[in-house]
């Protein structure tokens, strides 16, 4: 597993989201998943990448609470810590 740092998580989350469709320049901390056209299926795919990399699971109700890219990064960092 990779070490969980704010920077490492942010990089991985942005990479994962960019694979799912949105333009990389649009993927900022404040961007909402809705504005990026990232739906619940995409979030599961993102969380699988995060799980594989950091061993942190983002599932079900936890995922439903996440509205922005920043929310996801903060959740993963907090969960790992």
């Amino acid at each position: 597993m990779a070490e969980v740092t704010q920077e490492a998580v942010e990089e991985k989350v942005v990479d994962a989201l960019a694979e799912l469709g949105p333009d990389r320049s649009e993927i900022t901390r404040d961007a909402t998943f809705e504005s990026l056209d990232i739906d619940s299926l995409d979030l599961v795919e993102m969380s699988q990448v995060v799980d594989e990399e950091f061993g942190v699971q983002v599932k079900g109700e936890d995922a439903q609470q996440l509205n922005t890219v920043g929310d996801a990064i903060d959740f993963i960092v907090a969960r790992a810590g």
């Binding site: 469709g21 699988q48 594989e52």
Partner: protein, 399 residues
């Protein structure tokens, strides 16, 4: 008087290239889209038609269907907005198998990475109704939808179902056809295990040396509309679906009934549905798979369904001789090719046909495109028969 159903759009992606016209022109020119025993859509790049997100979220068979539907809807003049209430526009896309490539990929993920890494897209990627679902979302169609899954008859059965949706008044228009992409290790091994595919790597339907089919991929999509509604909006009519007939062999899970009785019944029903007789048919687009069993039983079926003398007189050719067997897409792509053949008044050839086989004595058009008909409205049959003993036959006409 039941509602008449006209064709206003054609779209195709096939091993001969992208575009309905490309398929017909290259087939007629004697070109063959087969390489190393397979018939892939080499010229097809999904990024030409779909966003990267759409490419990621759709199995290749759906990508092919979406591309073909874009061509068909553009030709029908539906580019901007559908011409009818979206709730009055249906969709029926047939497929033999569905997203088997996606299924195989996800099985690899399960084996190599474990159950937590299986994609949440696995089900929507592989489900057999994925093409129908993608088309209705892409084009905003909200009328009745179905997916026909009757093996190699699926495309033809889909168009038949669409015909009946419009006739019954359930829809004003239906986007229909077939799509398939199964050039995967598992599917190729499975068809080879049945001895269905050619060891020689050659399609030669109805020829004495035929030894099985070449697996191909592609999609054929047609826009069908109620004739009065199409006329009212000033649509250009490309052809008409006059009738559809179906039957089951109830004989063997893969082998056709040798005398072609079931297939003959479907031919008779298609003619009866169209209110026509054998003398009205100018061309037959055969199922013509290049398997020893199909081409023999289909020949018998045409003789039984049309009468031996009439069957021998009608030019009969196999699109599969140029593009291989597109399985559930075959009926869609072959209906597209048949409509253009009727527009042109020419039967394209059965390529590779050289050595007559005993009892296979129809006019298989070995000698290049041939003028058809006697000056009247041109009418054709398009046959599709599937594993499971499913028989589907369309009766199609020029405008």
């Amino acid at each position: 008087m039941s509602r008449r159903v006209v064709i206003t759009g054609l779209g195709s992606v096939s091993p001969l290239g992208v575009g309905a016209r490309t398929l017909y022109d290259r087939w007629s020119a004697g070109e063959i889209g087969i390489e190393d025993g397979l018939a892939p859509c080499t010229d097809f790049d999904p990024e030409d038609f779909l966003s990267s997100k759409e490419v990621r979220r759709n199995d290749r068979f759906v990508q092919l269907a979406l591309a073909a539907s874009q061509e068909a809807l553009a030709q029908a003049g539906w580019d901007e907005e559908p011409p009818y209430d979206p709730e009055r526009i249906g969709c029926v896309v047939g497929t033999g198998i569905g997203g088997i490539g996606s299924l195989e990929n996800q099985h690899d993920v399960l084996r190599d990475k474990g159950p937590d890494q299986v994609s949440p897209l696995a089900v929507p990627l592989m489900m057999a109704n994925a093409a129908t679902a993608a088309l209705v979302m892409s084009h905003g169609l909200q009328g009745p939808t179905q997916t026909t899954v009757s093996a190699c008859a699926a495309g033809t059965d889909g168009i038949g179902a669409a015909l009946r949706m419009i006739r019954s008044g359930d829809a004003e228009a239906v986007v229909t056809g077939g799509a398939e992409s199964t050039l995967t290790p598992l599917a190729r091994s499975a068809f080879a295990a049945m001895d269905a595919t050619s060891q020689a790597g050659v399609m030669r339907p109805f020829d004495a040396r035929r030894d099985g089919f070449i697996m191909g991929e592609g999609a054929g999509i047609l826009v069908l509309e109620d004739a009065e509604a199409a006329e009212a909006r000033g649509a250009t009519v490309l052809g008409e679906v006059l009738g559809y007939g179906a039957s089951a062999d109830a004989y063997h899970i893969t082998a056709p009934e040798p005398a072609g009785r079931g297939a003959a019944k479907a031919i008779e029903r298609a003619l009866s549905d169209a209110g026509l007789g054998p003398e009205d048919i100018d061309y037959v687009n055969a199922h013509g798979t290049s398997t020893p069993l199909n081409d023999s039983s289909e020949t018998q079926a045409l003789k039984a369904g049309l009468g031996e003398e009439r069957a021998k007189a009608i030019p009969t050719s196999s699109t599969k001789s140029a593009i291989g067997h597109l399985l559930g897409a075959a009926g869609g792509v072959e209906a597209v090719a048949t409509v253009i053949a009727l527009q042109e008044g020419k039967a394209p050839p059965t390529l590779g046909y050289e050595e007559p086989d005993e009892g296979l004595d129809l006019d298989y058009v070995p000698d290049g495109p041939r003028d058809i008909g006697n000056g009247g409205r041109l009418i054709a049959l398009s046959n599709s028969f599937g594993f499971g003993g499913h028989n589907g036959v369309l009766c199609l006409a020029a405008p």
